[in-house]
Point group: C2
Chain length 118, copies 2
């Protein structure tokens, strides 16, 4: 039972997402895109990065499926893909919840032990 | 204002956490530790990894401050550090919320436009 539970669960999607999130420039781009879609040049303007630098990060975020781009006329637009962010957020939230529950159980156990000693 | 908002915010703590989470073996170890502290040998037993392999990952998780270890007698115990997981989870949750809000605004805007056209 334990062995089945603990076999390493490979999730290339989570590997990709967390790996992309480990870079401050990519987080900054996602931060901007969370407020809505923008063109590549709008994205680059306030960032302290060259256009090729921004494009490199956008391509990496596209490969990680965190960002989608599409061309309209001469402009390339970027938008956030919510799904991988949800998966990564849910993974973390589930572990936080489990940790919280085991801490509650531990505190209840201590209280019970104290009660029994009185 | 925009420029100030969008300057890259360096957070070595988030870099470290997301980078550690990008590895399936490290996620598996955190998954186990979310259910409570265990000894290194208990941690290694159900995983399809050698003890040195597990130790390597535990050291990496310690360096990322996601795990704390301490020795009691001959046994080394591992436990999850909640704080970096909270920081990473909060970072993601804030972007999910912002994305949700801008989507709501967009839908309200479309509804308003439709209403005006009627």
């Amino acid at each position: 039972m334990h062995i089945l539970n603990l076999m390493v669960k490979y999730s290339p999607a989570l590997d990709r997402t967390f790996s992309a999130l480990a870079d401050p420039h990519r987080r900054e781009i996602l931060d901007r895109l969370a407020a809505g879609p923008v063109s590549i040049s709008e994205l680059a303007a306030p960032l302290d990065m060259s256009l090729p630098g921004v494009l490199k990060h956008v391509h990496a975020l596209e490969a990680a499926r965190l960002v989608q781009t599409h061309k309209r006329g001469r402009t390339r637009w970027c938008q956030l893909s919510r799904r991988p962010l949800d998966q990564a957020g849910n993974w973390i939230d589930q572990r936080r919840d489990r940790w919280e529950r085991q801490l509650d159980q531990f505190v209840r156990h201590i209280d019970k032990t104290k009660g029994a000693k009185r």
